[in-house]
Symmetry: none
């Protein structure tokens, strides 16, 4: 028949990653339409992008907390989730996409938003970016990521919550609500 399994080239994979960094996850058609990536990805469909991103994410997440999370899931049937937050039912925060180059999280220190970014802020951004949750990450996920990857003071959660509020009110994070769901705002320039 037609195609005996078209393997992804490193160029395609790089284009996909750059596209996600620029437009965010879940914007597969947008990435495909971006002239910056369309040439490299011209033989891929939006669904292909989605599938490949899923594969990348799955393999990338072995190393963080997911292992323990899954193990816990099997051991403990009742997940005791409750909202001790203020009044938000489900808060997700996603990094604002930026148009040019940016944010190499493996060797950072070289970027700054226009607003003040503390070191905790950078950690928060790293958490959200690396978690790669399609619909954004809620506070609990962010907390867990930071607990996994850093030594944290006892009141880390409070600090993080404060910074999240700041970052989403006048920083690079966006918190938007739609049916108890949050998403990026770069689809809405005005």
């Amino acid at each position: 028949m037609g195609a005996p399994k078209q393997k992804w080239t490193p160029e395609e994979e790089a284009a996909l990653k750059a596209g996600v960094l620029k437009h965010g996850t879940g914007k597969w058609r947008t990435i495909l339409s971006d002239p910056h990536f369309s040439s490299v990805l011209k033989s891929r469909s939006n669904v292909d992008l989605k599938d490949k991103w899923r594969n990348i994410s799955v393999t990338a997440l072995w190393g963080s907390r997911k292992k323990a999370k899954l193990a816990l899931k099997r051991a403990l049937p009742p997940p005791p989730k409750h909202d001790d937050d203020n009044n938000t039912r489900a808060l997700s925060i996603v990094p604002l996409a930026n148009d040019g180059e940016q944010t190499n999280l493996t060797s950072p220190r070289t970027h700054a938003s226009k607003k003040s970014i503390t070191s905790l802020d950078r950690i928060i951004l790293e958490a959200i970016t690396n978690l790669k949750e399609p619909r954004g990450s809620d506070r609990t996920s962010i907390f867990m990521y930071i607990e996994d990857n850093f030594k944290t003071p006892p009141n880390m959660k409070r600090h993080v919550a404060v910074r999240l509020k700041h970052l989403s009110s006048n920083g690079p994070l966006v918190k938007i609500k739609h049916k108890y769901r949050f998403s990026t705002n770069f689809t809405n320039p005005g």
Copy 2:
């Protein structure tokens, strides 16, 4: 992470079907406002109802062909699983609101008074409603739908024809004279 995909429960689906039977298709906001369904469907929007109805109709239309296709696909690796009968996945029957009794044409005591709706009548209404043919459905379409989705006795067509006549003379159906087609009467009494 508020709701990464709200799957429809059987209760919700039943409420939607009952709502369509009561108010007609395209009356999504009306169905939602009906106190009889609003509790079950409280987490759904009118657009959700519309989308779900479309999906129900599509799967109903392709009814048996799809199953035949899948059967073919799995013909080669025949695993001798023996749970063929308590499988609820197969042919879904309209579960009107909360009738425990389920329409099986094997006992067609379709002798109705002028008001009562028999099981066969309900199946006919389901057929016409799900077929959603803009100009109504003729007998052949209705026959095919029923054959596709139910186990039918040998003289099903006769029974259906009788009920069609009854339903259109003093029931909820409207017979479109021009082409011997039938349509529901639910579309706005005025």
